[in-house]
C-alpha cells in the first residue's frame, strides 16, 4: 500500500535521510526504530507532507504523494499523530476529534463528522460527552486524544509517532495493545515510530531500524533484535556489557533467548 523508494532528505550539507527504501503491506504493523537523530522523524515528516523530500518517491495507494501538502495527504487516507501531543486547548475533547472527522474526510457533513468522532473516542477509550475539556486529560489521556484525532480522519494508513516516554509500564502496554486493536478491528495499516525497542517488538509484524539516516536492518522482530548491527547501535560495542545488555533488550522485547 505504501512504497518508498530512494528517499533522501538533506538540510544544507547535512544528510538526515540517505537513500531509504521500504514497503508497507496492507494490514501490517511496521515498527520504525532508531536512536535519536537517526532520521525516523524526518522520514515520518516526509510521509505526512510536513517536509518535502530532496529526492526519492513515496507512492501511496498507487499515487505519488511526495511533496504534497499535509492536509491533502491526510485527506488521501493517511492519518498521523504527533510525538508530543498537540491538542487544541480552546476546543473541547469532542470538538478536537469532530474537527478531524470533518476536515479529514473531505468536509462532508457535520453529522458524519460527529459519528466519526464518537467512534474514534470510543475506540481509544475517551468519554464521548460533548463538554469535557482537554485540561482534564493527563499524559496518557492526551496520547489517546492524539490517536482519536488521527482515527477520526478516516485513515487507511496510520503514522503513529508514539514515543512512549512519560508513560509507566502499564500505560505503555495499553498503548501498544491499542495500536494492535486498531489494526485488528479497523483494518488500518500502521507505521509505528519509536526510539526504544521495548514494548514495540511485542506488537509489530516487522521492524525497520535506522541509524544516521540509513536503513541498517529490517525484518521480523526476533531477527532484528539479535542483529549485531542493531545491538551495536543500541548498546555500543563494549565487550563486557554487550552480552548482558543484549539479553536485557531481548527480555524487554519479550523475545525468548535461543535455547
Amino acid at each position: 500500500m505504501l512504497v518508498v523508494n530512494g528517499l533522501v532528505k538533506r538540510f544544507g550539507g547535512f544528510t538526515a535521510v540517505n537513500n531509504v527504501s521500504f514497503k508497507v503491506d496492507q494490514g501490517e504493523i511496521l515498527g520504525l526504530i532508531g536512536p535519536n537523530g537517526s532520521g525516523k522523524s524526518t522520514i515520518f515528516n516526509m510521509l505526512s507532507g510536513t517536509l518535502v523530500p530532496t529526492a526519492g518517491s513515496i507512492e501511496f495507494d498507487g499515487r505519488q504523494i511526495a511533496g504534497t501538502a499535509p492536509h491533502a495527504i491526510i485527506n488521501s487516507g493517511i492519518g498521523r499523530t504527533f510525538q508530543i501531543p498537540r491538542p487544541f486547548r480552546r476546543l473541547t475533547i469532542f470538538e478536537n476529534v469532530e474537527l478531524a472527522g470533518f476536515y479529514g474526510q473531505g468536509r462532508h457533513s457535520r453529522a458524519k463528522a460527529d459519528a466519526s468522532a464518537e467512534k474514534a473516542l470510543a475506540m481509544v477509550g475517551l468519554p464521548t460527552n460533548r463538554h469535557a475539556t482537554v485540561d482534564t486529560l493527563g499524559a496518557a489521556g492526551l496520547k489517546k486524544l492524539e490517536l482519536a484525532k488521527a482515527l477520526a480522519t478516516g485513515p487507511k494508513l496510520l503514522l503513529a509517532d508514539e514515543s512512549l516516554g512519560g508513560l509507566d509500564e502499564h500505560e505503555m502496554d495499553q498503548a501498544a495493545d491499542m495500536l494492535r486493536k486498531i489494526r485488528d478491528e479497523l483494518g488500518i495499516t500502521i507505521i509505528w515510530v519509536e526510539h526504544i525497542m521495548g514494548v514495540l517488538m511485542r506488537v509489530v509484524d516487522r521492524v525497520m531500524v535506522l541509524d544516521h539516516g540509513e536503513k541498517i536492518s529490517e525484518g521480523l522482530p526476533s531477527a532484528v533484535a539479535s542483529d549485531p548491527r542493531v545491538i551495536e547501535v543500541y548498546l555500543g560495542t563494549d565487550a563486557d556489557s554487550t552480552q548482558a545488555a543484549a539479553a536485557e533488550a531481548r527480555r524487554r522485547a519479550g523475545i525468548q533467548p535461543h535455547a
Binding site: H71, L99, F102, G104, R110
Partner: protein, 318 residues
C-alpha cells in the same frame, strides 16, 4: 435557547420601532454612527478573534468608501453597483496581501506589520491621486436624491439601513461562530501543523475568513460614505481608523457577538463627550484615551467589557 431567540427578537423589534417613536435627529445621528461602526468592528473581529490581528482594515474600509464615491462622482455609476465593485476590489486586495502571508506563514507580529503597511499604502494612494480623491481634504459625493443615488435626507431611513447592515454583521458573526470554520480557525490559531494534520487546509481557511472580513469592512466604508456624504483619509481610511477598530473590538470583547457593538458605543460616546465638553481643544484626545485604555484592557480585561460581564454571569449561574 428559545428564550435567547426571543430576547433577540424583542430587542430587534424595539430597535426597529425606535425611530418612529423617538425622533431627536442628533441622537438618531449618534445611533446611526454607532450602528455603522459596530458593523465595521464586528467585521474586523470576525478574523481578529482568531489571532489574525489586522491593521489593514482601515484600507479595506477606505477602498469601499472611495471606490463607491469615485465611481459616482466621475463615472456617474450608482452606489448600487459601486458598493459591490468596492467590496470586490477590497476582497481582491485582501487576497493579494493575505495569500503570501498565509502561504509563507507570516503570523503574529509580522502579520500585523504587513497589514499595517497595507493601511499606509491605501492612504498614500488616496493622497497621491488628489485630483480625483481630494487627497487629505476629503471628498463629497455629488448631490442627488433618492434610491438610485442611495442618498437620503431622512435620518429614519438611514437608521433602518444601518440597523440592517448591523444585523447582517451579527448574523455572519454567529454563523461563523457555529460553523466548523470556527473550530478550524481556533485550531489554526493554536497550532497550524496540528490543524493541517487534522486535514484542515490552513491557507484556504485563513483566506476565507479574511475575505469575509474584508468584504464586510468595505461595505461598512461605503455605507459610512453614503450616510456622512463626506469622506477623508482621517475618517474612513488609514492607520488611525485601523487602530480604532482594534481598540473598540478589544474593549467591547472579541469573543462575544455583541462585544464589538459595546466597543462602538463606548468609543463613539467617548469621542462625542470629549468633542462637546472640550470642543476643538480636545482634538486628538480621544486617541490618547484609546491608547491608555487599550493597554489597561489588554492587561486586566483581555476578554473586553461585555465578555467579562457575561463570563461573571455564567460563573454566578453555575
Amino acid at each position: 435557547m428559545n428564550s435567547r431567540y426571543a430576547a433577540w427578537a424583542v430587542g430587534l423589534a424595539v430597535l426597529i420601532a425606535l425611530p418612529f417613536v423617538y425622533r431627536d435627529p442628533y441622537h438618531l445621528h449618534i445611533l446611526v454612527l454607532i450602528l455603522i461602526w459596530s458593523f465595521a468592528y464586528t467585521s474586523w473581529s470576525i478574523m481578529g478573534r482568531f489571532g489574525l490581528v489586522s491593521l489593514g482594515h482601515g484600507g479595506f474600509m477606505g477602498v469601499g468608501a472611495y471606490v463607491t464615491a469615485l465611481l459616482w462622482n466621475h463615472l456617474h455609476i450608482t452606489p448600487w453597483i459601486g458598493i459591490p465593485v468596492g467590496m470586490l476590489l477590497a476582497g481582491v486586495l485582501a487576497l493579494i496581501v493575505a495569500y503570501p502571508c498565509f502561504r509563507f506563514r507570516i503570523t503574529g507580529h509580522y502579520f500585523v506589520l504587513v497589514t499595517l503597511a497595507l493601511s499606509g499604502i491605501v492612504l498614500q494612494v488616496i493622497t497621491a491621486t488628489r485630483e480625483y480623491t481630494g487627497g487629505s481634504l476629503g471628498l463629497t459625493p455629488n448631490r442627488d436624491r433618492g434610491i438610485w443615488a442611495l442618498q437620503f435626507d431622512d435620518k429614519t431611513t438611514w437608521y433602518l439601513i444601518a440597523l440592517f447592515v448591523w444585523v447582517v454583521g451579527l448574523v455572519v458573526w454567529n454563523w461563523v461562530d457555529r460553523s466548523m470554520a470556527r473550530y478550524a480557525m481556533e485550531a489554526i490559531s493554536e497550532d497550524e501543523d496540528a490543524a493541517a494534520a487534522a486535514g484542515v487546509n490552513v491557507t484556504a481557511e485563513k483566506l476565507k475568513i479574511t475575505l469575509v472580513s474584508a468584504l464586510m469592512t468595505a461595505l461598512a466604508g461605503a455605507i459610512y460614505c453614503q450616510y456622512q456624504m463626506f469622506i477623508s483619509p482621517d475618517t474612513v481610511s488609514g492607520i488611525a481608523v485601523s487602530l480604532q477598530m482594534v481598540f473598540a473590538a478589544i474593549v467591547g470583547g472579541l469573543y462575544v457577538s455583541l462585544g464589538p457593538t459595546v466597543g462602538a458605543i463606548i468609543t463613539i460616546l467617548l469621542a462625542e463627550i470629549l468633542r462637546i465638553g472640550f470642543g476643538t481643544k480636545a482634538v486628538g484626545w480621544d486617541n490618547l484615551v484609546y491608547g491608555l485604555l487599550l493597554v489597561l484592557f489588554i492587561i486586566f480585561l483581555p476578554k473586553g467589557i461585555l465578555g467579562s460581564i457575561l463570563e461573571r454571569l455564567k460563573l454566578k449561574k453555575a
